[in-house]
Symmetry: C2
Subunit: 593 residues, 2 copies
């Protein structure tokens, strides 16, 4: 066996911030070097951030990324870190290949570079390109065709990118053929509820298949709607978990590995840069870096962050929302947020998430009672503002609503929507005047069914709980209060906001169940209809009332336009519309079976 100390940097780059992301690499590489690491690795598309979307098709952006990675290699050497091999993801282009009809313009690639002694020593590119759900990588990248295998201190280390690990053929099979001792994958793998087990099990399976230890380094932090939850890990060749980073946090973790020495180490080194035959579209390209093993040393104990208790799923969702809000606010250059507090559970939870994300002093709330607002809606909102120490202002909307109705008398739903729009306009006025990012407080049940007002409660730049069913909203509120009690703090959310029946309070005595089924029932149907491929008949077979199923499905199918106009928000599930499922606006079809 040969030893190797690997540093994995679970960091949080920003899309387009090539300078800032490069600085992060240098900082982490320095810490890795100080910790005595022999190799430092970073996430997929570290230099550009992920996802770059159609920026990948902009030639000047690809050039900027290629230049940035070359400059990064030089900078590392200048700072005395040139002897540490550093693996990073970046945006590159396929060399020596002209434009081909049907390929992304400029032949961009989701690339890997190993930086060493001031140079970009080795490059390769992601072979398997995901093209479903939130991913459109056939649109953005040309597949790579090589697996680099680097002889590093007598160990053969293979490098692959994200999806390459999820598929059996290609790079994984090539790593087995090459008899790599360690397979390192760079990832930008977004959070989904309960995904962490899937990732670990995948790494374990691939380790056993390839006979190599697997190192999995993932991004952390939020980028637009995606939240990268870290959870980087290392398993040995038998699939045993030996190191694991925390979730949602940035982390540089250093692990000592005992790996099989390459068979010919010290004897006949592999021919460098000499390609082998391609199998399944992937050629192994070997590089000789250093064939002599490290002199034996006493390994440090590995970091093995305890695995999340499966019952903490709700707590994990809460952390994801906080990370999503925190990074969206910061990465978009806002210093504060504003939102409307109704006394109901949605705005109460959204405010709590915002306070946990950016701090109570940077959260501004408006209380906007109308003539239909109950007394408790104001008192509950005031109670919450006081508990969390956020700046609250109250503006009664009745005089404004009246001014509108003097000019244009409105009835029914039109009059209800008017109130929501007056609130949205006040919120945007405050935002324009003082520079806060407005948070929309709608939940996923409302969004799915279209139970919201366009340009009213849909106003804002980010929507913290838009991917949470109403039933989950209650669970999250209860979890957050319990968490406060557990640590001896004041529960941030007034119990009354959690326990009272939900109401939009847009007409006298209105409650949500006037328009919608009970949320427990509704959310079950919605999650099935939106999250799976089941239609009317299957839902009925599941035991739901056929008439209700039909009504709910119609609501969902008709709400596509409203969903499109809603602000983005942190994604916690792939059971979604939007980036996950893109439907036509005009659509006459609703499943009947």
């Amino acid at each position: 066996m040969a030893q190797l100390r690997i540093a994995m940097a679970q960091v949080n780059p920003t899309v387009g911030d090539l300078d800032g992301n490069s600085r992060t690499v240098v900082d982490c590489a320095r810490r890795a070097h100080q910790a005595g690491a022999h190799l430092a690795v970073f996430p997929e598309l570290m230099v550009t951030g992920y996802p770059v979307e159609d920026l990948a098709l902009r030639n000047s952006f690809v050039s900027a990324s290629v230049k940035a990675v070359a400059a990064l290699a030089e900078r590392l050497a200048e700072e005395g870190l040139g002897e540490l091999p550093v693996g990073v993801g970046y945006l590159s282009r396929r060399a020596g290949v002209g434009e081909r009809y049907g390929q992304p313009a400029g032949t961009p690639q989701n690339a890997f570079a190993l930086l060493y002694r001031g140079r970009v020593e080795i490059t390769s590119a992601k072979h398997h390109l995901p093209n479903y759900g939130v991913f459109d990588e056939f649109r953005h990248f040309v597949p790579g065709e090589t697996l680099p295998v680097v002889r590093l201190h007598g160990v053969d280390v293979a490098f692959a990118v994200c999806e390459d690990l999820w598929q059996g053929g290609g790079p994984v099979a090539a790593a087995r053929r090459a008899r790599a001792g360690l397979l390192v994958t760079l990832n930008a793998s977004p959070y989904e509820r309960e995904k962490d087990d899937v990732r670990m099990e995948l790494c374990q399976r691939r380790a056993r298949e390839t006979g190599a230890a697997v190192g999995y380094v993932n991004m952390s932090g939020g980028q637009d709607e995606l939240i990268f939850d870290g959870d980087s890990l290392i398993v040995d060749a038998e699939g045993e978990l030996i190191a694991r980073a925390p979730k949602f946090e940035e982390d540089l973790f250093v692990t000592d590995l005992a790996l099989p020495a390459a068979e010919d180490a010290g004897g006949h080194p592999p021919r460098s840069e000499e390609p082998e035959d391609a199998v399944d579209g992937v050629r192994v390209v070997r590089h000789l870096h250093s064939s002599a093993p490290i002199a034996p040393y006493a390994p440090e104990p590995a970091v093995l962050t305890p695995r999340a208790d499966p019952s903490s799923d709700v707590g994990e969702v809460y952390r994801a929302l906080v990370v999503g809000v925190r990074d969206y606010v910061r990465k978009n250059g806002f210093g504060s947020v504003a939102l409307a507090l109704s006394g109901g559970i949605d705005s109460a939870l959204a405010t709590t998430v915002a306070v946990d994300a950016v701090g109570g002093d940077r959260v501004h709330v408006l209380l906007l009672p109308s003539e239909h607002s109950s007394e408790h809606s104001v008192s509950d909102a005031e109670d919450l503002a006081a508990r969390q120490g956020v700046a609250a202002r109250t503006v009664a909307i009745a005089p404004i609503v009246e001014a509108f109705e003097q000019s244009m008398p409105l009835e029914g739903v039109a009059a209800e929507n008017l109130q929501a729009r007056v609130r949205g306009t006040l919120l945007m006025g405050l935002s324009n005047q003082e520079g806060h990012l407005v948070l929309a407080t709608g939940n996923k049940s409302e969004l799915a069914t279209g139970y919201s007002t366009l340009y009213g409660d849909s106003v804002g730049g980010f929507a913290p709980i838009k991917d949470c069913w109403k039933s989950l909203v209650w669970q999250l509120a209860r979890w957050r209060n319990a968490e406060a009690e557990r640590t001896g703090a004041v529960p941030p959310i007034p119990e009354n906001s959690i326990s009272k029946p939900p109401s939009a309070e847009l007409r006298p005595g209105q409650v949500d169940t006037d328009s919608l089924p009970e949320y427990d029932l509704l959310d079950g149907m919605l999650d099935t209809y939106i999250g799976t491929d089941k239609g009317m008949r299957e839902l009925t077979l599941d035991g739901y009332d056929p008439e209700l199923v039909h009504r709910v499905i119609r609501m969902v199918d008709k709400a596509e336009y409203k969903r499109r106009q809603y602000p983005p928000g942190p994604k916690i599930s792939s059971r979604n519309f939007g980036r996950d499922r893109r439907l036509p606006i005009t659509n006459r079809w609703t499943p009947r079976n």
Copy 2:
């Protein structure tokens, strides 16, 4: 030579309306039969409409399409049309192949079916899948691998779908190998300025390459943001244009063709259903339908709609906008539209387009003057409403704005935006009360630079001129007025709305050039920056002032969020953001060279 009378149906299906689309096929097939046609062909995805987006991934939708096409075949036979071979596009799935990781769920295909004697006789699927700009077909479809060549009355007719014609290899090469006499392609090819020449030249080139006549049948009408402009055509094997349908209109046009008799016609018919070897991923599959040529008959003269005068580009854009509005309103089930009329050119043109699309009696305009509105803004708006006979109501917004400012004093941009949002709220109130679809009247120059108010002038369900630069808006207005004068009608747009300097009138004396460069200058820069891959340095080399270029580019890069929140609108160019270019919201990168 053998004769064949082909009917091409340039029709306008609606996405998801399987019943309605099938009825259209039956109606056209009946007319084709009455006209003595030997073959009738319809556009790509005729049965489902195009684009279906992620509906392609819904198993029940694919099943519904497959069932609909079988039912359509039966229905044609029941109506006495079973002897007429009918070629349609529909959504199918790849038979006999299980799910494969990395493939669209359910293996959907963009398929072709030939219906005959009550059965789906022959099927195949689109081989080349476009995956750029507005197309994401790798996400939605599995490529087809066969080219059906049908011996029909002694002529070998090959059938391919849209993109298959644009690429040299695959189906086009297979048609040549198969020595087809006629290559028919089914298309859903969206309008773009000046695209018609490209299509005709493509057909001519492919005809000469394959040695076959080429029949090109395209969809017409609007679907969400896309506008299909028809322009179906037939060229002979030498590439000579012999028939051409009008643009933007539905049309069934019948053409008599003299085609080479298949070599072995009458002698040794090809083995039916017996595949040949695949070349370039495409196998020729031959089908024997009828080997005896039609008895000679006197051909009817072909329809050859005169080619558009190249100088009529602006008129063509205008027609595209009208079609886009008309079909969006109709297909989404609205009976009328509402919009705010400011007296300026944008709302004047949008109203005129709307009146031409749905009729003046179904257009409702609101005049919403503020304290900053000039006298001419009201009089010009009233003049326009009178010229076009649309119902106009006036609501002064000052009392409402005052009510807001009593509750929350606002200054500067916040106060300007407030006025726009009050207007948006009034417009939506009218829409909710009376059921009109609200049209947003912003132009592309505003959208590109973010010179608009979120939830103010961006309010609405459809935006007729969102893809028109401001300079084009003036051209369109002048063109429309000239067109009226040409036909002796009253010019619909008051000259003053065209000639006065543009202003948002949100503060005293405001004009657009306070915030933006002159539009001629701005639009040139924007079209280059958005439409090509040029950045800062190249624009400067083009002669633009570097400081101005930097300022404009920054505005454009920062406006992505506003662009996303804007309503959809008819697409007339691929020099776009949105579906054509999808950028991250958070993006720290702006090209510096």
